[in-house]
Assembly symmetry: C2
DNA sequence: TAAAAATGTAAAACGCGCTTTACAATTTTA
DNA sequence: TAAAATTGTAAAGCGCGTTTTACATTTTTA
């Protein structure tokens, strides 16, 4: 699954570390999400979407079946 | 985390088994989600929300921090 | 261009999301 | 009310989401 985290983060001009602290995870988690290593949990997806003031559906790209 | 899965399922008058098959998980997974045993993954949350034609934010209830 | 800041890689460890199977309890229907 | 359908419980197992720590690489700034 793809996401627009890096895109929104750069738009806000904040670092991975800033975002990590804002949504209460480690920087490693942000790196892994941005680089598509794995998907976020539902709770974390919500916190990040909320941080950027967008919906989960806008931030994460769900491929068609 | 709470959700409105059971609520939407009853509204549509389908069984847990029907829903499970529709979103491609086992019935046990639907039972566990409806009874709050654990949260759905982001992908599954999306499939269920899509099935009911609602947003993830409408289907899942994210408590305030 | 050197130093500092930001980003990335690696690997081990833990808990949770989901499956599988089998059976029990409850609700609906004939 | 008996049979059938639906919902629930239990427990073991696997893989993924996240943390932690340490170090390497790339980018930005003075």
């Amino acid at each position: 699954m793809q996401n627009r985290i890096k895109e929104y983060r750069k738009q806000q001009k904040i670092t991975q570390d800033d975002l990590a602290k804002a949504v209460d995870v480690t920087r490693q988690t942000i790196i892994s999400l941005e680089n598509g290593k794995y998907d976020a949990s539902l709770k974390l997806a919500h916190r990040i979407a909320k941080y950027f003031s967008v919906s989960i559906e806008e931030l994460f790209i769900f491929e068609e079946d």
